[in-house]
């Protein structure tokens, strides 16, 4: 059954998803359920001076209106960037303070969703209004690290000014990226049901254990009293990782009314009650010699953060790993403004920084007069440029060679504006993608039956990534069973520990724990059958028995399929908990993960730097009359270690590239500056790509072996696809039009 790995396996949850029987959180309707709705602040900064709830209370069907004065108490949850499980450190409805527009100010419970939402509309508030700033001021930025200090947030190697002085060509450029919102198709929701002191929460989550731990702590409950259930998640992309205000308010509301309450957050409210991608400025100073070889590399990232958290997503830690340079300087800076706290949104450190880096490289290549692909080749490196350790594997140029050939890069004529197709200007652009291989501890329980079934259980999540399928594949391959005989149960906090599904880690970390559980099962079965008097393996030293594609093999060529051996044991059934503990994981990191946190090691260990790589090429058309920008072709070649499922991996990489089209050409959360409100808080005016925007997307997955990252050799692919896309498109726009656009998104209005 080894062929189940690295093949195209149809999702095991596909039948449920195509029939509407996959149960998402808001599909659960507990008996007696009431409906919640949020009223939110119209102002961004100030104090609530009065809140008139009388009209809402008089609305037929409304059962209760909760305010900061009437909400049942619970302990405040610490924010993620302060080391806690919360999406932010500031919790609304604890007092009259308003710190961002769209902050919840009241919670209405009613018999129907429509009555609850109407009740929320009927609440009127008065405020003492302060003066807000929704945009950061990059001039007012500061350096701060995740621990509140600036450790690791500044890198200096060599002498950047000397490197620039000796360069044949330099670029000194600044790129800006906007606020963006995840906008998963599934709206945020939470359903809470109390039975005495026992609480059940249904909520789409990327981290059920984070949720459970935080909720239990807030109510001083043992974790055994809290169930968190999230079997299917309708897209997350970073937005469903932490405990959010709407979760805690719904739990409190259910407690207050003594009935289950479900809140479905409205699409506009989704823009303010959870996280987003902060706006940023990316400053680059690069120098190169006459061959394009870098002599200086400086990157300063300034990212927006709220007034009450320090959102540190250190993109400079990724860019500095990219290209060899004798002189390197990076700084990770923040600047505050009046919003809720941002967070991680698909490739949170990489999307915006690579939009900058890969355009800067293109600009420099243009100045030097070398082909953009050659520019990357001469600066490729097999050692981390700052940490000076080798990469565990790095197939960047193999990716470029692969994508160049399929795309037809050689047909590109270098001069901007030199290629046309009818009324369309044509441009080709390329860019590098990379994503760090993050390592987290994980457990997984596997129960195998001699009748030929296996059950795989872990508190991991399938947010559309295909985890249900790949865990079944791993177990099937190891245990020698058909994929369909391996049943995966996930999305419940009570299951064995698995990490937060973020940072492209689930397949690598949790998958390795599944793998380990299968090996343990094999050892247990081998121990029992070798001790028996009969059977092919009888009498052998169990330590000498190995598992090979579902078959137990002795040193002398003896063999028995694992499932047959298991059937011969007394119980005919065996269960094991597997563990993934990479040598780079310290006790502290493992404990953090087990406590519901994100205890990640990597991407740089004392031995190796671990990254997945890719190369993308975009063909862009710009219309002569309408100036519309379209992407008829987008190709990417990626090397990310072992590919477990070629079908779902292809989808993930393709989906990332589609996100890149969105970032390049569509996505921006617009703002109303005077009142510091997000202006296009919907999905008609916050543009994301529609079907017609996505034409030929070609994904190649190269073979790459990496024995260091984990036993499966898996790196992450969930985010890799988006990383180079926006820059590749921007570079192609420059090639088509001669216009260098250093901000996202790139719109018609920039090209008239």
């Amino acid at each position: 059954m080894a062929q189940t790995i690295n093949t195209a396996v149809t999702r095991t949850d596909a039948p449920r998803k195509v029939t509407g029987t996959a149960t998402y959180a808001a599909d659960v309707l507990p008996a007696g359920m009431l409906h919640g709705a949020l009223a939110t602040s119209s102002i961004a900064v100030g104090t609530l001076t009065s809140l008139d709830t009388s009209a809402a209370e008089a609305e037929p069907g409304v059962v209760a209106v909760l305010t900061h004065e009437t909400l049942p108490d619970y302990k405040t949850v610490k924010g993620f960037y302060a080391g806690g499980p919360g999406s932010a450190s500031f919790w609304p409805m604890e007092g009259p303070e308003i710190k961002y527009a769209g902050q919840p100010i009241a919670y209405v419970v009613a018999q129907t969703a429509a009555a609850a939402r109407r009740g929320a509309q009927l609440i009127s508030a008065e405020y003492e209004v302060g003066t807000p700033n929704i945009h950061m001021d990059p001039a007012d930025s500061f350096v701060i690290g995740a621990q509140g200090d600036n450790k690791g947030m500044v890198t200096t190697k060599g002498d950047i000014d000397a490197g620039l002085a000796e360069a044949a060509q330099t670029v000194d450029v600044e790129y800006t990226t906007p606020f963006q919102h995840h906008n998963p198709m599934e709206m945020f929701s939470a359903t809470a049901e109390w039975r005495g002191d026992r609480l059940t929460v249904w909520m789409p989550s990327q981290s059920v254990r984070t949720l459970r731990g935080g909720i239990a702590a807030a109510y001083d409950l043992p974790e055994t009293s809290v169930r968190v259930i999230s079997p299917f998640v309708g897209g997350a992309f970073g937005s469903k990782a932490g405990i959010t205000p709407y979760t805690m308010l719904t739990i409190a509301a259910a407690k207050a009314v003594g009935a289950p309450v479900r809140l479905i957050v409205t699409r506009p409210q989704m823009y303010t009650v959870a996280t987003f991608r902060p706006e940023s400025v990316q400053k680059f100073r690069l120098g190169a010699d006459a061959n394009g070889k870098l002599t200086a590399f400086e990157h300063i990232e300034i990212a927006q953060t709220s007034q009450f958290d320090a959102v540190v997503n250190p993109g400079t830690h990724i860019t500095r790993a990219m290209y060899a340079s004798p002189n390197i300087h990076t700084e990770q800076r923040l600047a505050r403004s009046d919003t809720n706290t941002g967070g991680f949104m698909r490739a949170p450190n990489e999307m915006q920084t690579f939009f900058g880096l890969e355009q800067a490289m293109d600009e420099l290549a243009h100045k030097v007069g070398v082909d953009p692909v050659e520019m990357r080749r001469v600066n490729d490196t097999d050692r981390h440029p700052v940490e000076d350790v080798p990469f565990s594997s790095r197939s960047l140029m193999e990716c470029y060679d692969s994508v160049s050939e399929g795309f037809g890069w050689q047909n590109r004529t270098p001069e901007p504006g030199s290629m046309t197709d009818g009324d369309w200007l044509v441009g080709y652009g390329c860019a590098t993608a990379t994503y760090p291989t993050n390592i987290l501890a994980s457990n997984a329980r596997v129960r195998m039956q001699g009748t030929g079934n296996a059950y795989i259980e872990l508190a991991a999540h399938d947010v559309g990534t295909g985890s249900y399928t790949i865990f079944a594949q791993i177990a099937a391959a190891r245990l020698g069973l058909p994929v369909g005989a391996c049943d995966v149960v996930m999305g419940e906090a009570d299951l064995p520990v698995a990490p937060l599904s973020g940072g492209s880690t689930t397949a690598a970390s949790a998958g390795s724990a599944v793998h380990d559980a299968c090996l343990r099962i094999a050892r247990m079965v081998a121990t029992e059958v070798t001790a028996r008097s009969e059977g092919p393996l009888a009498g052998l030293d169990p330590a000498q028995v190995t598992l090979d594609d579902g078959v137990l093999r002795g040193p002398g060529g003896q063999s028995q399929p694992l499932v047959e051996a298991l059937a011969a044991t007394a119980a005919g059934e065996v269960e094991a908990v597997g563990e993934f503990r990479h040598p780079a994981l310290t006790d502290q990191l493992i404990r953090a993960t087990f406590a519901g946190g994100y205890g990640t090691a990597g991407p740089v260990t004392p031995e190796f730097a671990m990254f997945a790589f890719g190369a993308e090429m975009a063909e862009v058309h710009v219309h002569r009359w309408t100036h519309e920008i379209r992407v008829p072709r987008l190709h990417g070649s990626f090397a990310a270690g072992t590919i477990l499922n070629r079908k779902t991996a292809h989808s993930q990489l393709m989906g990332g590239m589609v996100w890149g089209i969105g970032s390049a050409l569509h996505e921006i959360t617009e703002v109303d500056k005077p009142r510091a409100r997000f202006l296009n808080a919907n999905i008609a005016e916050y543009l994301i790509p529609v079907n017609a925007d996505v034409r030929e997307v070609r994904v190649e997955m190269l073979d790459e072996q990496d024995d260091y990252v984990n036993p499966l050799g898996v790196k992450g692919i969930g985010e890799l696809g988006i990383v180079g896309t926006a820059a590749a498109i921007a570079n192609a726009v420059h090639h088509a039009t001669g216009k260098r656009l250093r901000k996202l998104p790139i719109r018609m209005s920039d090209l008239v």
Binding site: R118, T626, E670, D672, L687, V690
Partner: protein
């Protein structure tokens, strides 16, 4: 959404009677009405569902006039092959609008009364909106974001943009709207249906309370056959126009006999560019004259902060649309 009374009359007299009541609104496809009711912008006390008035359904592509019932669906009309040949601007302005689902629900009578997408109008958190709350001011003009607002036809009270597509085709080709109301039946030139915001942006059309749009008529002209709707948008589909043009040409050899130009995505109401049309009549249609017509169409535009691009974009879209219409008029397409 506020709750409301719901009526579904089966004859038009009863519908008019129900619709003339204070607080009553007419409901057809509901794609605008229900949306605005949900977000609390509109709060009618009663809805009069006219979709049982079967005499308002259907449409007819005749040789001298094309008539649409008010209840004809955007999808059925936009996908009609005969109409595609007879009047491409009509089908193109329909199928390039909204989504298939919305076009199946939305009716033409409601579509022409489509509401602005001005974010300040649509978000009741903004106290200032003269259209939603007369006399309260305009948040857009009070330091707000104006990159999507009207650069033609706006006023100091309101710069909300009319977002529709089909209406541009109707205004360019001298369509008429038929109505029935408490005062009887009447025919309204489409160009007169919408009124400029002026000091009273909450008054959007000349329709009276209880007056129901029953149909739309478009006279068949030479320019209608060689017509085109060009819609420029950052997203390929399911997006409002950043700028659009509904144009048509009737050529006499190399000379423009008749030209029609209306521009969308830029004005407070459906916007006919008559001076631009006149600039073309009697002369040749070349890339140069097309571009000049585009410039003339925006000669009176008043750009707001962030919407300066619309003048150049709009002019280019007019020119591009004319080139396609010219190809159609001369058998080039």
């Amino acid at each position: 959404m506020r709750n409301f009374d719901y009526h579904r009359p089966t004859d038009i007299a009863a519908a008019i009677e129900a619709a003339r009541a204070d607080g009553a609104e007419i409901l057809a496809g509901g794609t605008t009405m229900v949306d605005l009711m949900k977000i609390g912008v509109w709060e009618p006390q009663a809805l009069v569902d006219i979709t049982s008035l079967s005499e308002l359904e259907g449409y007819d592509v005749g040789s001298d006039r094309i008539t649409f019932g008010a209840l004809a669906r955007m999808a059925e009309v936009g996908d009609d092959d005969a109409l595609k040949t007879a009047a491409p601007v009509l089908t193109e302005s329909l199928w390039k609008a909204a989504s298939p689902q919305l076009r199946h629900a939305a009716r033409l009578g409601g579509n022409i009364l489509q509401q602005t997408r001005c974010p300040y109008f649509r978000d009741t958190a903004y106290a200032q909106c003269n259209k939603r709350n007369p006399g309260s001011g305009c948040a857009a003009l009070d330091g707000g974001e104006t990159n999507l607002h009207a650069i033609l036809g706006g006023s100091d009270a309101c710069v909300a943009m009319y977002p529709g597509d089909f209406a541009q085709a109707l205004v360019a080709f001298d369509a008429e709207v038929t109505t029935k109301g408490p005062g009887g039946a009447r025919t309204i030139p489409f160009a007169d249906l919408h009124v400029l915001p002026g000091d009273t942006p909450h008054i959007e059309t000349i329709l009276n309370r209880g007056e129901i749009v029953t149909g739309i008529t478009v006279p068949v002209t030479g320019a209608l056959k060689a017509s085109h709707y060009l819609k420029a948008r950052d997203r390929e589909s399911y997006a409002f126009a950043s700028a659009s043009a509904a144009v048509g040409l009737d050529m006499d050899g190399d000379t423009v006999r008749d030209a029609r130009i209306a521009i969308g995505g830029v004005a407070a109401v459906p916007w006919r560019a008559r001076a631009a049309e006149d600039s073309l009549k009697g002369g040749p249609l070349t890339e140069e004259t097309a571009r000049e017509a585009g410039r003339i169409a925006f000669a009176d535009a008043v750009p707001l902060e962030g919407s300066e691009y619309k003048i150049k974009l709009g002019a280019d879209v007019v020119a591009g649309a004319l080139m396609t219409a010219h190809a159609r008029a001369t058998g080039g397409e």
